[in-house]
């Protein structure tokens, strides 16, 4: 009996060491692009060379702002795919803690990223959040009635906060159960691709595009909802970001990335009205923040998919941001 249990446990231990070893030491071999982008954000924090202007937001900004096409200003893009104000807050906090505070912070989230986190909780798995920050986040979640905001993924599916907290730590510390699909899909063969991407993202100052289709009249996520129902946790982190900026004299420009025309024409009026109502309140609460939060549109031929700008769209949007910042500086 003892021999049987001993052999079984040794077998499982050897297997776990092999898998954990791969997960800890070979992240570039199995991770997707989000790890590369997150890692770029983290290495920027340690670079000691703060940019004058920084953009923080979700994938629409990550793929929509190309610092290298800016003509006059020194920009860096610290946006992450699938990010919400939770990731934004911790990014800004890290900028301040690492003495990398920019002169102006351009902040932007797609409206639906105030209502749901649409992808795998990348900030945890990709190492953006420390264990203490995860703990802090779940304290806020508990204060907000244990509101589930990472609801489309494996992390926050329980009504019990401690379960969600435990899952978040599990992902942080590379519990193999959360990584089997990535290992299967990659077979640890992504190193070359990720290493190339790593160089490209660094060269492009955090910009990462999805594809280069020339046109998209597909409808984005916002058009699927009748009502704009923001999560308390996400809005509280947006407020926390503004508070943090206020405390540290950091100027914030809040900007809405454009929809494609097809989505703009299809989005529910009620949804837009409810979205605008939230931002009217925020404008009153944070008069020092410059808001360009109205939902706006670019032509369909500037989009590569329903949500993201293509190369031409990125150039146009980047120049727009540059102009806004220049205009702000003149004031």
């Amino acid at each position: 009996m003892k021999k049987f249990i001993f052999k079984t446990l040794v077998f499982l231990a050897v297997w776990l060491v092999v898998i954990w070893g791969a997960l800890y030491f070979l992240p570039l071999n199995y991770s997707g692009y989000t790890y590369v982008v997150s890692e770029n954000v983290m290495s920027y924090m340690k670079s000691g060379k703060p940019a004058k202007y920084v953009t923080v937001g979700d994938s629409r900004i990550m793929a929509g702002v190309q610092p290298n096409v800016m003509k006059k200003e020194d920009f860096y893009n610290l946006s992450l795919g699938g990010a919400t104000p939770v990731e934004g807050y911790f990014t800004v906090k890290k900028l301040i803690e690492n003495k990398m505070q920019p002169e102006v912070l351009v902040l932007s989230y797609a409206p639906f990223h105030l209502t749901i986190h649409d992808t795998y909780p990348r900030p945890v798995g990709d190492g953006l959040l420390t264990a203490d920050e995860i703990s802090e986040l779940y304290d806020v979640v508990e204060k907000n009635g244990n509101e589930v905001f990472w609801e489309t993924d494996k992390l926050s599916v329980s009504d019990y906060s401690w379960v969600n907290r435990f899952k978040a730590y599990s992902v942080k510390f590379k519990n193999p159960m959360f990584y089997n699909a990535e290992l299967r899909n990659s077979l640890l063969m992504r190193y070359r691709k990720n290493a190339q991407l790593q160089k490209k993202v660094k060269k492009d100052k955090g910009f990462h595009s999805y594809s280069n289709h020339k046109f998209s009249d597909q409808l984005n996520r916002e058009t699927r909802s009748e009502h704009f129902e923001p999560k308390k946790v996400l809005v509280s982190y947006l407020r926390a970001t503004f508070e943090l900026a206020r405390k540290n004299n950091l100027q914030v420009i809040y900007l809405a990335a454009p929809f494609n025309e097809a989505s703009f024409n299809s989005v529910n009026k009620q949804y837009v009205a409810e979205y605008n109502a939230l931002f009217e309140r925020l404008k009153r609460e944070y008069p020092e923040v410059v808001f360009y939060s109205d939902i706006n549109a670019y032509p369909n031929d500037l989009f590569t998919d329903a949500s993201h700008l293509n190369h031409d769209g990125t150039v146009r949007f980047s120049h727009k941001i540059e102009d806004l910042v220049t205009e702000y500086r003149k004031k």
């Binding site: 009996m1 021999k3 049987f4 297997w15 898998i19 159960m177 089997n180 299967r184």
Partner: protein, 481 residues
């Protein structure tokens, strides 16, 4: 609670430790613990059905005692009828009520009559077909004086509800399992190691083979009108390996778990896809159900001893009932009838016992004759599985018509890297099963003579593949039966 779930991975080690360490050398305590664990396992699906299981168990236990103590044949028969009637009544209500109501209403409408018959929103208790048949075999065996009833209700309850076999078999016989429940069990290292290998192989079959194939089979069957012949054929092949991997994988896990607890359960699969004719296939597929029908239905009906008409009648009855046992849908009945049609020529020409032993025994490759037999039987089986998987008979007919078009020669529409990976895994699986076909399960003898590092490397690879594919688990197909 699925065998391939985190919950079970926590549940079983606790049971194992309590069983072998805390209650060691206390048979009664071990049996009570297993009985409690089995009911917990079952009630994880829906605690209300625990009462149904308990009622069915009590009914058969007391019916068995009453049959044994009945003084006259009439009283014996009366108790048998009560037990069988109530058991089949429950089974009929939960499984077939809506089917009969709908079919009757359709028949009336076909005759031009108005039918206002309501169906009920009935949830099928998981495993009802299996534990009902467990109980029935016990009562039949007592009635036929094959066994004496047990007077220990805990032992009987454990026989019916033993968690490895409770929800999807094998359908055990009291003559086989009850003596094991009643005797003290000792931990046997070789048996436990073999059990672990069988669990590993079962998990591989279920998680890597069946669930991967299920993804493609579901896509193709659910959108069959949009695909050409070659894709539809691939869909049928994927389902063929899905159902085998799913059910035989479950059985391997169940048998392996039972071995870790010192029990030997009945073999349920014996490499059916290497059968050389349909008769052999049915001696190798879901063996515990086939033998149940043979012993308690086919032989009492006269078996194959009567004239031609009787043989035809009995064959059709047993295959139709077997089809109907699988589910309340005409597709299962057609599937059963189709197998009867396959089987009858062999029976009528006395060729149904031509292939008894293992194919190509002691050899690496089969003869051309054996290969032809295997390919023909496999093709017939794939064809029959289409009815088993289809939503309706019409869907199955359209599916088959879709296969036999010119597009059968074209490249499948959805052949991508993931599908090719799955095909590669299925091919590897077939090779291991072929080389392991003389054992109790595919991995039993595969690699046992290799040097330790190679053998353990093979286990690590299998375990890693299971881990890779874990997480998209689908419920075992046979849970619905």
């Amino acid at each position: 609670m699925l065998f391939n779930s985190i919950e079970f991975a926590l549940f079983f080690p606790i049971v194992f430790i309590l069983y072998w360490f805390v209650f060691k050398n206390h048979l009664k305590a071990q049996n009570i613990m297993l009985f409690v664990a089995s009911y917990y396992f079952y009630c994880c699906w829906d605690w209300r059905f625990g009462f149904l299981l308990a009622f069915s168990t009590a009914l058969d236990f007391y019916s068995g005692l009453a049959i044994d103590r009945a003084g006259t044949k009439v009283r014996k028969k009366m108790w048998l009828i009560i037990s069988v009637g109530i058991n089949l009544g429950f089974l009929g209500f939960f499984k077939y009520y809506n089917f009969f109501v709908e079919s009757f209403a359709q028949m009336l409408e076909g005759l031009g009559m108005q039918a206002n018959m309501g169906t009920l929103n009935i949830i099928l208790p998981v495993g009802i077909s299996f534990y009902t048949f467990h109980g029935l075999s016990y009562v039949f065996d007592i009635y036929n004086d094959r066994i004496k009833p047990t007077t220990n209700i805990i032992n009987y309850t454990l026989f019916v509800s033993f968690f490895p076999l409770l929800v999807a078999g094998p359908i055990e016989r009291a003559t086989h399992l009850l003596p094991q429940v009643e005797k003290p069990r000792k931990f046997n290292y070789a048996q436990a190691v073999d059990g672990m290998r069988q669990i590993l192989w079962g998990l591989f079959k279920k998680i890597v083979i069946a669930d991967s194939c299920a993804e493609f089979a579901n896509t193709i069957f659910n959108n069959s009108d949009t695909f050409g012949g070659s894709t539809l054929l691939l869909g049928a092949l994927f389902f063929t390996f899905q159902i085998y991997g799913d059910f035989s994988g479950y059985t391997d896990i169940a048998l392996g778990i039972a071995r870790l607890l010192g029990f030997e359960l009945l073999k349920n699969f014996n490499f059916p896809y290497f059968s050389r004719d349909i008769a052999e296939f049915w001696r190798r597929w879901h063996i515990s159900l086939s033998s149940w029908f043979k012993d308690y239905l086919y032989i009492p009906l006269g078996g194959s001893k009567g004239g031609t008409w009787m043989k035809v009648r009995n064959t059709f009855i047993i295959f139709l009932v077997s089809g109907f046992w699988h589910g309340a849908n005409w597709t299962f009945i057609v599937w059963g009838a189709l197998n009867a049609v396959y089987f009858l020529p062999l029976l009528l020409t006395n060729k149904n016992r031509n292939n008894i032993g293992t194919v190509a025994e002691g050899k690496t490759l089969p003869t051309l004759r054996e290969l032809t037999g295997m390919v023909t039987t496999f093709t017939l089986t794939v064809f029959a599985w289409i009815f088993f998987r289809a939503e309706s008979v019409g869907h199955a007919v359209d599916y088959i018509n879709g296969i036999f078009t010119k597009s059968i020669l074209s490249k499948p529409e959805i052949l991508d890297a993931r599908m090719l990976t799955t095909i590669g895994l299925v091919v590897a699986f077939i090779i291991v099963e072929w080389f392991g076909r003389e054992g109790k399960y595919g991995l039993e003898k595969f690699g046992v003579t290799w040097k330790k590092p190679f053998r353990y490397a093979m286990y690590l690879v299998l375990f890693t593949l299971i881990y890779f594919y874990f997480g998209s688990e689908q419920e075992f197909i046979y849970f619905q039966f």
